[in-house]
Amino acid sequence: MYLLVILAPLLGALSSGLFGRKLGEKGAGVFTSACLLLVLSWSTLIFYETTINCSATFLKLWRWLDSDLLTTFIGFQFDHITATMLIVVAAVSSFVHIFSTAYMAGDPHLPRFMSYLSLFTFFMLLLVSSDNYPQLFIGWEGVGLCSYLLINFWITRIEANKAAIKAMLVNRVGDIGLVLAMFAVWGAYGSLDFSTVFVATEGTSTGHTATLIGLLLFIGAVGKSAQLGLHTWLPDAMEGPTPVSALIHAATMVTAGVFLLIRSAPLLEQTPLSLMIVTVVGSLTAFFAATIGLVQNDLKKVIAYSTCSQLGYMVVACGISNYSISLFHLMNHAFFKALLFLSAGSVIHAVADEQDMRRMGGLISSTPFTFTMVAIGSLALMGTPFLAGFYSKDLILELTYDQHYLAFAHWLILFSALLTAFYSIRLLYCTFIASSKSKKDVFVNAHEGSWNLTLPLVFLAIGSIFVGYLTKECIWSYEATLPAIVPLFIKLLPVLFSFFGALSSLIIFHLALSDYQLITRGGYQAAYTFLQSAWQFNYIINNFLVKIIWATGHIITYRATDKGSLEIIGPRGLSGSAIELTRRLSNLQSGKIFNYALIILIGVGAYIIGTVGTVYL
């Protein structure tokens, strides 16, 4: 059962990918979804066994990398962290599979799509269940690859191609960090197995090595989890179909970076410096992404920046050493973010593939079900009491307040909680409640999807409501988390802030102070443009980094080195000089007899002088 959890999605992917033509559109959808539902049920059993019954399972299969200095097995480790991740991945993935059969219906390449989705799930499961770093890296690269394939699913769109390449390349930057971290771990401990390395860290690690390992691991997490600096790929990845955004860029792939931090907790615990940097970057990401989310007009981009922001919360939780809380937030976030994305898909489906919020509105009357789902997801995201987000997000806020010199992170993410509420309600209001700005036929024809479009939403909504309450203690159980001793006022503050944000959003948008009328005013316009263009990160990176590297590549590497000096020394220069030499030599043979006679005479003379000279000297 444990191995089948890993292999079932691979089976689905292979059969749908290789025999999709035989299975047909419907068959591919049903088969892959059935595989994923099996995985979900087994994952639930594994969660019961490993987390509730506290019995972790280890499977060692065969030797993989085998040399004198390094032995790595193909092995699986099912413990608390893996079990939680399994639930998250399997649940979100299976609902996304079912959702895709409706959302992507009519697409001529549906079997390919389902195959990629299942392959992604396989790699993600491999990532979370491996018991050593190299095998984790297989999954790590595999999800990157599947992300590329899925963003680029509509291969004829140039924007999709560019976004996919960007996702792949920006992820590679982080992957280099992970590879270097693996080298550093191997250099320090001589092994890459989690069990060996984590036991070895206790007391043996020296300061600098530990800091180096921690920072390199964090670079890996920054790339995958879209933290500040390497986050630019995540909003662009919205070019893929909506279920892809839900699966990859909300619930699973981006959480791989956080998972790496959680898994490497014993390594990170050795270095206070790394933890401080983790906290700083995480809180900045949370704040920065939340401000950008305020003004995005693309339905999916709002949710994408919200994902980025929530990942910042998880990273902050890791940075203050509350890894279990980070995992808990990861789980809750996966449920409500997948719900939000799939509901966004439902909205987009209802309004004939329109993604711009400025051309929506008034959908509450035609699609009340979707409205309910978005409302549940948004409320859970805002941390409304007794929904999923409340249990984890507020806990992170309280625990951050408790940190002495890192308490500034508390204020940053507290303010971003306000902003989160603001843009969630803005999304809700502009899409559903405000008067409609869509075309008449689109508005009239807006409708709910078929059962397999709506059913996943129901399950995810149930998850968003209950999962935080139900699992709130069994998930932290693996790491003792003491409740923070903070004043009651601080405990109430997040909820108050959220309600304040939500209320101000409602008031601003309801009293016709819509941002479109204010755009023309000076200071507001500057701020709006600044936020709309995502703090100009793309501009800065493109102009000051990519362009320079590109120009360097063209001028120095290509023109000066490859086609320049190497060409002159190498092929062209060498052959040219040989040809020139032989041309001059053959010019000696002029065809004129007296020249030949002179040459012969010189030659004989030289011979005589040579022989006589050697005799007499």
């Binding site: 053959s586 065809g591 004129k592 007899i593 007296f594 006679a597």
Partner: protein, 99 residues
């Protein structure tokens, strides 16, 4: 005593070589220069034969004369054949085969 004679033969040899090298005129001059070289060689053989009192040099002289005669005959034959095709025997025009 024979020093002057050998100097003469050396001078003749150089004269023949110069005749070949500096010759821009007819092929016949070239042939004549070759004859001159051979004669200079024969002369040197003879002088050395007398100087060292060994008869071999004179054998060789007779041989060289024979060879020179044959060579002149063949050379002139080639020259005539060449003249029939080309219509001229200028050395300058003899440059068909270039490298």
């Amino acid at each position: 005593m024979y020093y002057n004679f050998s100097l003469v033969s050396l001078f003749l040899l150089l004269l023949g070589l110069m005749g070949i090298i500096l010759n821009r005129g007819h092929l016949i001059i070239m042939l004549m220069s070759i004859e001159l070289i051979l004669l200079a060689a024969s002369f040197l053989f003879l002088i050395n034969s007398i100087a060292s009192d060994i008869l071999v040099g004179q054998f060789f002289t007779i041989l060289i004369l024979t060879v020179a005669a044959a060579e002149s005959a063949i050379g002139l034959g080639i020259l005539v054949a060449y003249y029939r095709i080309k219509g001229t025997i200028a050395v300058k025009s003899l440059n068909w085969l270039r490298g």
